[in-house]
Symmetry: C2
Subunit: 150 residues, 2 copies
Amino acid sequence: MNIEAQERFRNFLKNARNHRITPERFEVMDAALQFEGHFGADDLYIKMKNNHSNVSRATVYKTLDLLAQCELLTKRNFGDNLNRFENNFFRSNHDHLVCKNCGKIAEFSHPGLREVANQIAADLGFDISGYSFNIFGKCKDGTKCRHTDE
Amino acid sequence: MNIEAQERFRNFLKNARNHRITPERFEVMDAALQFEGHFGADDLYIKMKNNHSNVSRATVYKTLDLLAQCELLTKRNFGDNLNRFENNFFRSNHDHLVCKNCGKIAEFSHPGLREVANQIAADLGFDISGYSFNIFGKCKDGTKCRHTDE
DNA sequence: ATTGCTGCAAAACGTTTGCACCTAT
DNA sequence: ATAGGTGCAAACGTTTTGCAGCAAT
């Protein structure tokens, strides 16, 4: 579908040792890049099944990790024991604000966070590969968000 | 065990509606506050079992969430589909650096992150309850950390 | 007396694995 | 020819749930 993304994935697979270029992997890539917003691996599997794909669940899970490794996707975790993926090809880096009531996810980007992360990693002797900044709270969206007063 | 913590938990249970004060809950509280470092709910359950407690797994899981709600514990998630808890009673707030190779977790605190989070939440109309800043990378601890070159 | 809590076991959930067959290299 | 990938189903580990009896209010 997307030539540039295909090219990046292909090169990633070629350069990583022992990775083969298969039609199934590109099928997963296409479906993943078409997904709007955040999605779980199983969401994608179901969606592909509904579209009459016969790529297996195992292949979907494995391929999504490969796509995250080559940074076509970003793997996110908002503290609910569910890995979510997000297109990282079209958009710039950003972080998330999660509503604990209704699950709504807002996005923001804050200049300087990257630099803070780099600095801390350097200070502590880590070879940084990424960071995640999640803010938790309750949104004020009356239509979606039941305000339990917990 | 710890009078001040007990008091806080007791008040939390009293003030929240429909929460009862039971011996099992304080048994879990004591065991949790004694745990050094990060622990999973099941870790605590096993440890209590080994100490001849007969509090059930269900009660441990439920009580840990209550303890996180009243901020005696902090619930963490480092993206590996496992909820970890950490004593939040004795220590000040801090964030984490996670080694993707060996799982080692380093801690840091960075002044200003709290303020950044507050500001962003305010801007986006969220009622903030907390934030998490995790940095991922590889540590340089030769003894623990196999440096696969992925 | 009410209704929340408990222990137990079973189920649920997302994810990973073992296997035999297949296919890219 | 080799070794990595595939689909399938079963297994995994963590967490949640249904239930009958129990206990805090």
